[in-house]
């Protein structure tokens, strides 16, 4: 084990990081205080002074991380990083170990997930190491159509890839504790069979060579508990997603590399596209319950950061393999989807407050938790600062107007305010500049220098317009979370679909009204002094249009044809992403419901019975004959599939004997005893897309 070297190197790096961040924050704070000297201080100014250090500290940390990352890129990477150690010289000789690739899904687009697994399988096959890997599709889907489609997709995959006994499907009856519960369920059942697991999201893709390399890295470095890769955002079609993936590609790496350089073995875990050593994970990383009075809110929503902290508490390292290629994920396709995701993340990150002061958590983890907390708390803080700053400016203007000798009494220290303004701009925009500079060597893959530069400018403008919108929503999320509104684990929308304008107007219209009102008041009370608020009001006023236009698939494609927002995966698509962005990807796409086919089609029924049989025969034998189940069955026959509620459908589908009985009765009852929809479904059953999918390879 070679733990001593990174630990001795970590201290000066972290000291420099912390020192530089504190120095910058202190400089900004002093400049702010000096800008008030010689002029009256009003009550809103105290709010500005109170919130300023937190906010300036946050942008200082970002700036220092970007500097770290840029420096690391200039010197060619961190030699102490786990992926750059001497084992790489004899990489091929490092043996592999049994590894499970765990893919938790929850009402996802089944064909996309299945296609992704097929691509990863083929990529692994080409490495010649497929025998060391098994795939687990772990479903928590609570929609009957998704469930049946997942079963068919699994069988189709196994047939197509000849992967029986290598690709497994598991459906949980009770989706306790969301994704972390799903992964823990895998660990409890099959964890002992494997030394490692590679955890993926439903939209994650990893190449075979990358997975093989990660396993070898873990084998060669037994002190590493989690090795996180930096997934590249790909497959965007809407303008929003393409702009996000472009920005992630340009600026993300600088920040991640900076984080890795500062954190070293106390790295982050993001919950997917990472390899985990299963034994310590099972022993030390099961999530503790939160010490809150309400039992329904004790589950940790955002598990990854906590799991990384627990892994390090147990003495294992967590590293970021930031240079690893062949690791991908997708971004939310539009602003609304991003906000949905952010609402979940916000609730999760705020929960982490509990771990901030927990005992035996390493300082690096506390810092991560703090940064995560601040990434959402910053929004209400900024909002407060803006409001208080505006009131302060108004009070000051009023004071100067009524003052007898304004030149002497209230002349602001313009030089300090100007310096602070310049420093803020530097902290905000230099990281972007560093990202652009670090991308220049590979600018050809981004459409050439001029298109790359134009894309970077457009992306900056877009982020300036969107930032105020996010600020308002994030503030709202923080308030809702603090008020204790329950956040459910919703499916992430991964499809590029245009948002209807009516939706944008409903969801973002209030921001437009707020923007118009704010701008009018600011002009009325502050006059031209309110110029600095204009970008914020403009963002709010334009919010519905921004959300609508950026969701356009056609605009994203048009810009792609002009090589704008181009990323290397678009100019040179890697084989593991092939076919994943096809419109015709959904082989089982159907306007009608899919789950009734499990009651009519013999093959789909047989497959489903094989999946649920063990459980339903061994549990609740009385329930099978329970009158409520019989009543439900009769209602389904008489009133058709749409008569049942989602939970009722699931209840029926979980009972193997009921499913089989329904198959018999739906086919044998005369038309007078069946709802007309069943007659229609029977006549279409031989042509149903799931059956076609199953029998076609």
């Amino acid at each position: 084990m070679n733990t001593s070297l990174p630990e001795t190197a970590a201290a000066p790096r972290r000291a420099f990081f912390a020192g530089a961040s504190i120095f910058l924050t202190a400089t900004g704070f002093v400049l702010l205080l000096r800008s008030y000297s010689g002029q009256p201080v009003f009550w809103p100014d105290y709010i500005v002074i109170a919130f300023f250090p937190f906010l300036f500290g946050q942008i200082s940390v970002g700036f220092i991380l970007a500097l770290f990352g840029f420096f690391d890129q200039l010197r060619g990477g961190d030699p102490l990083n786990v992926m750059r150690r001497p084992w790489r010289e004899k990489e091929e000789s490092v043996p592999l170990a049994a590894t499970a690739i765990v893919i938790p899904v929850y009402n996802e687009e089944v064909q996309r997930v299945s296609h992704g697994i097929a691509n990863m399988w083929r990529s692994l096959e080409q490495t010649g190491q497929i025998e060391h890997f098994d795939f687990y599709l772990c479903s928590d889907s609570n929609d009957a159509d998704h469930w049946i489609e997942e079963e068919c997709a699994w069988l189709h995959l196994c047939q197509k890839l000849n992967a029986f006994g290598k690709i497994f499907y598991r459906k949980r009856r009770h989706a306790i504790n969301g994704k972390s519960g799903n992964v823990a369920d895998f660990c409890r059942r099959w964890g002992k069979r494997y030394r490692y697991m590679i955890v993926l999201d439903a939209d994650s893709i990893m190449s075979g060579p990358a997975m093989v390399r990660l396993v070898r890295a873990m084998e060669a470095n037994p002190e590493v508990g989690i090795l996180q890769t930096q997934p590249r955002m790909v497959l965007g079609r809407s303008l929003f997603r393409r702009a996000l993936q472009f920005s992630n590609r340009i600026y993300g790496k600088v920040f991640t590399q900076g984080c890795s350089l500062a954190q070293m073995s106390s790295g982050s875990y993001w919950g997917h596209n990472a390899i985990i050593r299963i034994a310590p994970f099972m022993e030390y990383c099961d999530l503790p319950l939160l010490p809150v009075p309400n039992p329904g809110k004790r589950h940790v929503l955002s598990h990854d950061t906590v799991e990384a902290a627990l892994m390090q508490r147990a003495g294992y390292d967590v590293w970021i393999a930031y240079e690893e290629t062949g690791t991908y994920e997708e971004m939310p396709p539009n602003l609304t989807s991003l906000l949905k995701r952010d609402r979940r993340w916000c609730a999760g990150n705020l929960q982490h407050f509990w771990f901030l002061f927990a005992r035996n958590i390493q300082m690096g983890n506390r810092l991560q938790i703090w940064i995560g907390l601040m990434s959402y708390l910053c929004s209400p803080f900024w909002l407060m600062l803006l409001i208080a700053g505006s009131f302060g400016a108004y009070d000051r203007a009023r004071f100067l107007t009524f003052s007898a000798d304004p030149e002497d009494l209230g002349a602001p220290k313009n030089s300090d305010a100007l310096l602070l303004f310049i420093l803020t701009l530097i902290l905000l925009f230099v990281p972007r500049l560093l990202g652009i500079l670090s991308t220049l060597p590979s600018v050809r893959l981004f459409g050439g220098f001029s298109r790359f530069l134009l894309s970077a400018i457009l992306e900056t403008l877009l982020s300036v317009i969107i930032a105020p919108v996010l600020m308002l929503f994030h503030s709202l999320f923080v308030i809702l979370t603090l008020l204790g509104w329950q956040i459910s684990w919703t499916t992430q929308d991964r499809t590029d679909s245009n948002l209807p304008f009516s939706h944008c107007l409903t969801l973002y219209g209030w921001q437009s009204i707020l923007g118009i009102l704010g701008q009018t008041l600011a002009l009325f009370y502050l006059g031209l002094d309110s110029y600095w608020l204009m970008p914020i009001f403009a963002g709010w006023i334009l919010a519905p249009v921004t959300a609508w236009v950026t969701s356009w698939h056609s605009l994203g494609q048009k810009l792609r044809s002009h090589e704008l927002f181009l990323i290397p995966e678009e100019s040179q698509p890697p084989p593991e992403l092939q076919g994943l962005d096809d419109d015709g990807n959904s082989e089982t796409q159907s306007s009608s419901s899919l789950w009734p086919q499990a009651l009519l089609c013999p093959y789909i029924q047989a497959l489903h019975l094989s999946m649920v049989r063990l459980r339903s025969l061994s549990h609740n034998s009385e329930e099978k004959t329970a009158s409520s189940l019989i009543e439900l069955r009769e209602r389904l026959i008489r009133e058709g599939p749409s008569a049942l509620k989602p939970k009722e459908k699931l209840r029926l589908l979980w009972d193997a004997e009921t499913v089989f009985r329904l198959y018999q009765e739906l086919w044998s009852r005369p038309e007078t005893e069946l709802h007309p929809s069943w007659i229609q479904l029977q006549s279409e059953s031989s042509k149903n897309p799931l059956l076609t999918y199953l029998i076609t390879l």
């Binding site: 771990f355 019975l609 089989f660």
Partner: protein
């Protein structure tokens, strides 16, 4: 042989039975429409005979029950699993039929007595593995000391009263504004 004339209602019920059988056999994706029609007509003849002996049952019900019975018996014979429950025989048999892909190549083998040897062999050797053998182990959270924040929070929870807190907040906000405007006017 003279068959007695049948009423239009009766004709309709037999047509319904025919359609149902046709749809039922089509779901096995035999790929050969004539074979589907052949199986349908053959079974319908059997059922007509049975219906003459017992006309209390609806032809559709009778035809479909007979079709399902034939199917289960045929699968049980091929799988050599007479003791299993019908649902289990059905599940194993249909999965085996699907995975063997025999019916697409040889649709006449479906429900054939005796079935071709290669089909029987393929059906018996097909086994669906949905998951590997369980290696059940425990994964339980370890105790985590949440530190001073928990002690502080516990005190707050014990004493916290939302109504009282809101009244206090409103009161002090009011006091603040009264004083602020009063002092602003004075100064």
């Amino acid at each position: 042989m003279n068959t007695p004339p049948i009423s239009s209602d009766e004709q309709a019920t037999w047509n319904q039975a025919y359609d149902r059988l046709q749809n039922f056999f089509s779901t096995f994706a035999l790929g050969d429409h004539s074979q589907v029609s052949h199986l349908t007509l053959k079974l319908l003849d059997q059922v007509r005979e049975l219906h003459r002996q017992d006309s209390s049952c609806h032809p559709t019900t009778m035809a479909m029950e007979q079709a399902q019975k034939n199917l289960i018996e045929w699968l049980a014979a091929n799988l050599e699993a007479p003791d299993k429950a019908p649902s289990q025989i059905f599940a194993s048999g249909c999965i085996a039929l699907l995975l063997s892909r025999m019916l697409n190549a040889n649709p006449t083998a479906f429900l054939a007595c005796p079935p071709p040897d290669n089909l029987r062999h393929l059906l018996r050797q097909t086994l669906l593995v949905t998951g590997p053998d369980l290696k059940v182990s425990s994964m339980t959270p370890r105790h985590l000391d949440y530190g001073p924040m928990l002690a502080l929070a516990k005190q707050t929870w014990h004493r916290w009263n939302t109504k009282a807190a809101l009244i206090a907040l409103l009161f002090w906000t009011g006091v603040y504004f009264v004083f602020y405007w009063w002092l602003s006017d004075l100064l």
